[in-house]
Amino acid sequence: MSDPFDGLLRSYDERRRAELVAAYMAVEHAAEPVPEVRFAALREPALRRTVEEMLALGGRTLVRHEQTSWTSGYRDDVAAELAKDPECVPPVRERAVLTLVLIHSVAIPRAAGQLADDTWLSPHPTPLDELRRRTQLPVGELDSALRRLRLAGLVSQVKAGADDAGGFVPGPQFHRLTVAARRRLQEELILAAGPDSPLAAAIRARRRGREREQGESA
């Protein structure tokens, strides 16, 4: 079977090629964004473009993190297509549990000014009790939803410490959201947490407008 990457890599000498492969594997498989100082192919714009092209073969793209670190995520158009495929969308229970974690660990602390605006990682765990109470899921189902969310890197468990009960926070996959994906998620969370708020009304109005535009241009 032919190596799909070969077309992109062929023109590089051995050293560059190895650097490109290392950068590609790092952004695709590391848990956290990787610092560009450690990966020449992320540091140099020309090489970085090639990494981007390698990722694009699989519908992925580079996502920058805090100026000098990089990870990868699905391109927005690809994510939209995948979301239309029921098999690619996690089951409703997992989404429900994840939403609760996002509300407790991100939305509420952010509203209280304890969390920066554009992050989906959080040091504020959602207690298991809270999940038990709010999901209304049988314990077994909640546990298996949490198991799969953790395997997916969508939530992480924080152990109980001296003065808190521990619980769950959004997992490392949240580094992989593109700018547009982070904005969409933010909007969805507003719609979920405050459906009657003026902000939610504004989001709905903007979306209606966008749909109309698309309808006309199509």
């Binding site: 450690r38 098999e87 969508l154 468990q157």
Partner: protein
């Protein structure tokens, strides 16, 4: 395809990677005009395979270009192709942490026990291997760790389920049988020598007829029906703070939150989206889970 069968949750792990879209499925596509399905179908097929983990398709279906295929004759599992034969183990050279894994030591030992039972002809490649009973795997695990308690078996059973969720094993709980998962087909021949050495040193599985394809029919050994190898035992491996292994297990098994330090896990665990070997031989069979 059909609605996801109960065991075929392999999709969920990495599927969740497109979290934005799954959390906001109705957000609509922002850029693309509605009429233009702009995404190259091959690109989409590869993205989909990644999102689903290691999805399987009927053997007659075409394999999308740019994916690797592992087949057992009846079905084909789609696996990633990495450039220049690299594997995620490359991260080690760069001191970069892979996806964290809870109870990595337990996962390695249970996978080792499954390999011992399902990879019977060590001169061959591990994939596709043969089916074994969950009972045998648990027996080997108990002999490896020299701790044959009910609790140990329950934790091992939960781990089997996790390894199945991530495509390292194919677990059929109703019939009590287990096979190696398609991801083991990603192990390159060159990396198998130490694994073979290691497996030679592990306790042998109980000698039933090893070639029996449907081990499910044999009645399960009494000792191995611990509360729930096939029951709805979602509570067995609940990720709760009461995890009895976590406190005493080896250091790389800590329930690391997001910020685990790179040095903490030198031998990447065999779960998640990576296709690495399951850790260094020395990590197996140690008595870390007493």
């Amino acid at each position: 395809m059909t609605a996801p069968p109960p065991r075929d949750v392999s999709g969920v792990p990495s599927g969740a990677r497109h979290v934005a879209s799954s959390a906001a499925p109705r957000a609509g596509s922002r850029v693309a005009p509605a009429a233009a399905p702009a995404v190259d179908p091959h690109v989409l097929a590869r993205a989909r395979a990644r999102a689903l983990g290691a999805p399987s398709i009927p053997a007659a279906d075409p394999v999308p270009p740019g994916t690797a295929a592992a087949t057992d004759g009846a079905r084909v599992w789609l696996l990633p192709v990495w450039p220049d034969g690299a594997t995620p183990a490359l991260l080690e050279e760069y001191d970069t942490a892979p996806m964290p894994l809870d109870r990595a030591g337990l996962a390695r030992r249970v996978l080792a026990a499954a390999l011992r039972c399902c990879w019977r002809r060590l001169d061959d490649a591990p994939w596709p291997g043969t089916a074994a009973t969950v009972a045998d795997v648990l027996d080997v695990y108990a002999n490896m760790t020299r701790s044959d308690t009910d609790l140990a078996r329950r934790w091992a059973t939960g781990e089997l389920r996790r390894l199945s969720d991530t495509g390292w094993l194919l677990l059929d709980e109703p019939s009590g049988s287990v096979r190696l998962g398609p991801r083991v087909a990603l192990w390159s021949e060159g990396s198998l020598a130490s694994l073979r050495d290691l497996l030679h040193r592990l306790p042998e599985p109980p000698q039933a007829e090893p070639a029996q394809p449907e081990p499910a029919q044999t009645e399960p050994r009494p000792a191995t029906e611990p509360s729930g190898s096939s029951a709805p035992p979602n509570d067995l491996d609940s990720p709760l703070s009461s995890d009895p292994y976590a406190p005493s297990a080896s250091t790389d098994e800590k329930l690391a939150p997001v910020d685990n330090s790179p040095a903490a896990r030198p031998a990447a665990p065999p779960v998640g989206s990576s296709g690495e070997l399951p850790g260094t031989p020395g990590k197996f069979g140690q008595d870390g889970d007493e």
